[in-house]
Amino acid sequence: MSSETFVVAYEGHPADPAVLDYAIIRAKAEGAKLLLVHVLEWSAYSFLTPQEVEERHGRRKQELSRANEVVMAPALQKCEAEGVAADGVIRYGQVVELILEETKKASASVIYVGRSGSQSMAARVFGSVTLGLAQLAPVPTVIVP
């Protein structure tokens, strides 16, 4: 078994299992372990109403537990069932920045990312996560259609 780690930028869309499936196949073939990174978009510089400020801590707890239950736990179970060692991380912040940070931290050798279906204006103007990773990643990045 190699000591390689592959990072999976895991959005957790039910309609988007391809990236995880492919990463599992590659990890199996190369004896690598997977690190699933799920990022909840968040800016420390957004504006909140007083009511939102009051409720933020509770909301964060709910969001984290939901992300864990709905996104991360089923994905990790799937990896386990396939016999691939996997860890999961859920973070708040800017998606590309945090995936790169986790990649460096885990000394991962490859990043797997799904081809985002987003054709929104924001994605066109500011670039999608896929493009961001492709441009900035210090390791080979595999875009899974």
Binding site: L40, W42, A44, Y45, S46, F47, L48, T49, P50, Q51, E52, V53, E54, E55, R56, H57, G58, R59, R60, K61, E63, L64, R91, Y92, G93
Partner: protein, 513 residues
């Protein structure tokens, strides 16, 4: 929800035919208002015996000075650290997703930056002359220490509930802090503070806002009865705070900061256009600060107006910011104190000064060409102005000297500022209300409905009684809050020493920069 909206429209429609009687309603509300609140206003703004200096202005100035000295001019040596905290240099990345220091500051600022900076400054400069600006800046600078004290305590003694919600503010540090120090009367203080907060929320946080929003709108659209503006504003506020339509509040929260930035940018442009006069304007401000330059009461007239407006604008010592700041996620209460001390700086020292400079430079205040003194309009009780306007209309007129389109934009900004301040104050008032009466949907709705009704009253009443009443309520909050701050300041000092010690030793980690 649709039933509620429908019933609101029905109410508005039913009231339209009585427009003819509207002026009568305005006058009736004014008379009742002045009759019932006049004595209290007189008490709060009573002069010290043998002087024309009101005791309440002295109260706040002395408090700000005491806190400045007691904490070794924290606003000066702590300023750079405040900026670092807001930038997130000391924020643990694992806490991402919680309320950041920046967000707590922005939310608190959206409750304070607003009409105080636009209309309030015009009132201060209109009555106290340019010299009022100097005292306003001084009050803002010293007030930073007051804000530091109250917001540190707000975080330290907040209540955290099992569902993750956080409630804090002076009523909590009064009860818990007094108990910790073995002092009696914490509950009575908290109760008094809550009563004043509710009335302050209905006054300065509501009626003053509605009143000035109407003044600005009628200035642009032509004169029409205030209750119409009041009803519309009340309906929208009702939809947000009772109907829970968050999108309206969220849009406002996002638009208001940009309006604030835009306001500052326009002010800077006007100042740059009159670059050669900036030195002269500062000269008038300094000269006026110590002579009055013809205003009633001279030096003290300028001083009182400056201090009154600064306190009304940045709310240092009032206690409201302690409510807004208490929900931030931090292990160190002092960090929130550091962040909060930026508020009076941004609000008063930067934004209020901009407004004052534009008013002085554009020459909307009438000057006697022979003496160089301002022309006093004794009947109106203020400096005579171009077109004899006051309050927000004076600011509007001053900015219109440079940009003719500005009044229309200012009208939109004023309404948005007013609305955002109302949302903030409805929250502060609600916190005080639920502290007194307990939490529960029905109890909370009662307060929210009362809040909306006061918007209509505020928009209908004349400027004088509304400003006086709202000032009186806010300063009443400051009376109890400042006493509590004096009694609890040793706790803040202990927190500060411990924090600074750990910061120096490297125990408190810097994550960025």
């Amino acid at each position: 929800m649709f039933n509620r909206i429908a019933s609101l429209f029905a109410l508005v429609a039913a009231l339209l035919p009585v427009q003819a009687a509207a002026q009568g309603i305005d006058e009736t509300i004014n008379t009742i208002f002045a009759d019932y609140t006049g004595w209290y206003v007189a008490l709060i703004f009573a002069d010290l015996p043998g002087t024309n200096f009101s005791w309440i202005a002295l109260w706040l100035v002395v408090a700000a000075l005491v806190f400045t000295i007691y904490f070794g001019a924290i606003q000066l040596h702590g300023f750079a650290h405040s900026i670092s905290l807001v930038k997130g240099d000391y924020s643990d990345p694992d806490d991402a997703g919680e309320v950041s220091h920046f967000q707590a500051l922005a939310t608190a600022l959206s409750g304070t930056v607003g009409l105080g900076n636009i209309a309030g400054v015009a009132v201060a400069v209109g009555i106290g002359g340019p010299g009022a600006t100097f005292w306003m800046i001084m009050a803002g600078l010293f007030g930073m220490a007051t804000k530091f004290t109250e917001c540190t305590l707000g975080v330290k003694y907040r209540n955290e509930y099992p569902d993750g919600r956080v409630s804090g503010g002076p009523m909590y540090y009064m009860t818990k802090g007094f108990k910790e120090r073995g002092l009696p009367g914490g509950k009575i203080f908290a109760l008094l503070f809550c009563i004043f907060t509710i009335l302050g929320a209905l006054g300065g946080g509501n009626m003053f806002q509605a009143n000035q929003a109407h003044a600005q709108l009628s200035g642009v659209l032509g004169d029409y009865p205030g209750w119409i503006t009041g009803l519309i504003l009340a309906a929208v506020t009702f939809l947000v705070i009772v109907g829970g339509i968050k999108s309206i509040a969220q849009v406002t929260e996002k638009v208001v900061p940009f309006m604030g930035i835009f306001y500052v940018v326009v002010s800077v442009i006007i100042l740059l256009m009159n670059f050669d006069q900036i030195g002269w304007a500062f000269g008038r401000i300094f000269e006026g600060a110590f002579t009055g330059l013809g205003v009633l009461g001279g030096f003290t007239g300028a001083l009182i107006q400056g201090f009154r407006r600064a306190a009304f604008s940045n709310e240092a010592g009032i206690g409201s910011a302690a409510i807004a700041h208490s929900a931030v996620r931090t292990k160190e209460p002092v960090t929130e104190g550091y962040v909060a001390l930026l508020e009076p700086f941004i609000d008063t020292v930067v934004i209020c000064t901009m407004t004052a400079l534009v008013i002085v430079i554009t020459g909307v205040l009438n000057v006697d060409p022979e003496t160089g003194l301002y022309v006093w309009n004794a009947e109106a009780g203020r400096i005579s102005t171009a077109g004899e306007v006051a309050g927000v209309e004076l600011t509007s007129a001053a900015y219109a000297q440079a940009f003719s389109w500005f009044p229309a934009l200012l009208a939109i900004a004023v309404v948005l500022f007013a609305f955002s301040t109302m949302i903030s104050w409805s929250y502060y008032g609600l916190k005080a209300w639920t502290y007194m009466f307990g939490e529960g949907a029905a109890k909370e709705t009662i307060f929210k409905v009362i809040f909306c009704l006061f918007i209509v009253i505020g928009a209908s009443a004349n400027l004088g009684p509304v400003i006086d009443f709202s000032d009186a309520m806010l300063f009443s909050m400051a009376v109890v809050n400042v006493i509590a701050l004096y009694l609890l300041m040793p706790i803040v000092k202990r927190e500060l020493s411990s924090y600074v010690g750990r910061l120096k030793s490297g125990e408190i980690k810097r994550f960025k920069g």
